[in-house]
Amino acid sequence: MTATLYMDYAASTPVDPAVAKAMADVLAGEAGTGNPAATHWAGQAAGQVVEQARVRVAALIGASPGEIVFTSGATEADNLAVIGAARFRRQLGRHIVTTLIEHPAVLESCRALEAEGFEVSYLPPDNQGILAAELVAAALRPDTILVSVAHVNNELGVVQPVAAIGEVCRRHGALLHVDAAQSAGRLPVDVRAQCIDLLALSAHKMYGPKGVGALFLDRERCRRVEPLFHGGGQERGLRPGTLPTHQLAGLGVAAELALQRLDSDVPAILALRERLEQGLLQVPGVQLNGHVTQRSCHIVNVSVDGVEGESLRCGLRDIALSSGSACAAESGEPSPVLRTLGRPDHVAQASLRFSLGRTSTMADVEASVAAFTATVARLRALAPA
């Protein structure tokens, strides 16, 4: 193999040229110079860009602009949601419900809260990665203040029944935080219809720039959370720091494009995924991880019998793909998510996440299938009987 293939859209996406252009335009003009907090013309020009982005992000998830707080990405937004809401509501209760397969941004936030005296129930999904709303209902206690679930799991691509979980939370009175880093722009998100109180998203998962994201806070059910840090009072004091105008312009355009393209992107990517999945599963001893149908269009995660994971990845190194979340990558450790699904360690260790996007092609898919098939065969032939 000489050509490289990008099959890691779940880790990050290329920036859409329209997004890059919007960012460059801001950077070159007075809106890029002014501090959006300043009241003079340059500050106002910046402020207009910021507010336009707020409108666009809100539109993507069915929220109002005033419910959007900008952050440095989904990691920060997840922390602000989970830690911020828990600390703010500490007097109402100290119990939090989440799942065993959350992204570290949520899992580690929960661990930090445990050190502060909160109690966290980590619910196991079924062996296809799905968390039933009934499980959440059973886990709720009078002192449960918050439930946190990722809409789409970043390793498996499974889609959780967020609306059903949201209804359960509403009935109980707990807040629902949804990590939508993988789903925003990839499947429809509607905070009202899905009974979502807090939602985190990140621009770089939807063809926007890295280093910017947003937290939605339902204006009625969750006006405030405790900020993670302090300063000049930007974003209603919930998230201080000079607002990065060009980054927000990029996020805004990315959100607008995502919404516009949802109806065409999803079937196109799904068609690629189906061929990819079929090609990969055709190789004997290859197993799909995660639910077969309740899954986002962009992720295929497979485990491979009889090959060692690191060599498998090395053999496919011209393909940018991941063995789980990019963050935990290459530690050699089997993915905790796959462990949770009951895969034996040595199988979990030989797992690959292929993820597709707007700029993926059928040729990429065919080349990936061919490379995968050849590499698995070669490594198996190399192994002792």
Binding site: E308, E330, H346, L382, P384
Partner: protein, 135 residues
Amino acid sequence: MGYPAAVLARFDAPPNAGAVAPGPGTVLRGQAGGTGEGVSVAFEFRVADGRIVAGAFRAFGCPYTIAACSLVAERLAGREARALAEFKPLGLADELELPAARRGRLLTIEDALRSCWRAWDNKGLAASNVSRSDP
């Protein structure tokens, strides 16, 4: 992926993979590790006139393991059979730029070599047609 070029070259097209070619002498086989441990290696050495005339390996393991096996098989060729008892794969760590945490893999390889040696030892005692140096 930060593998050294030498490792990648052997990983992509490992010399001495598979089985030793047919020929005169005795073929010794030895194995160590297991797929459950993440590393399983097997060697074959053809020994004739007390010397290793060919070596081959099979491996289930990380790229370092595969490269190390390939290198070990290569390095042992031409040596006296007792090298199977004496060769220290850990000596290859620097050449392979092996991360400290991976050194255990070389010990598994050493185990497999020793297991070849025991095979030789057994054979040596049984078959007097094979000249051998002192163990």
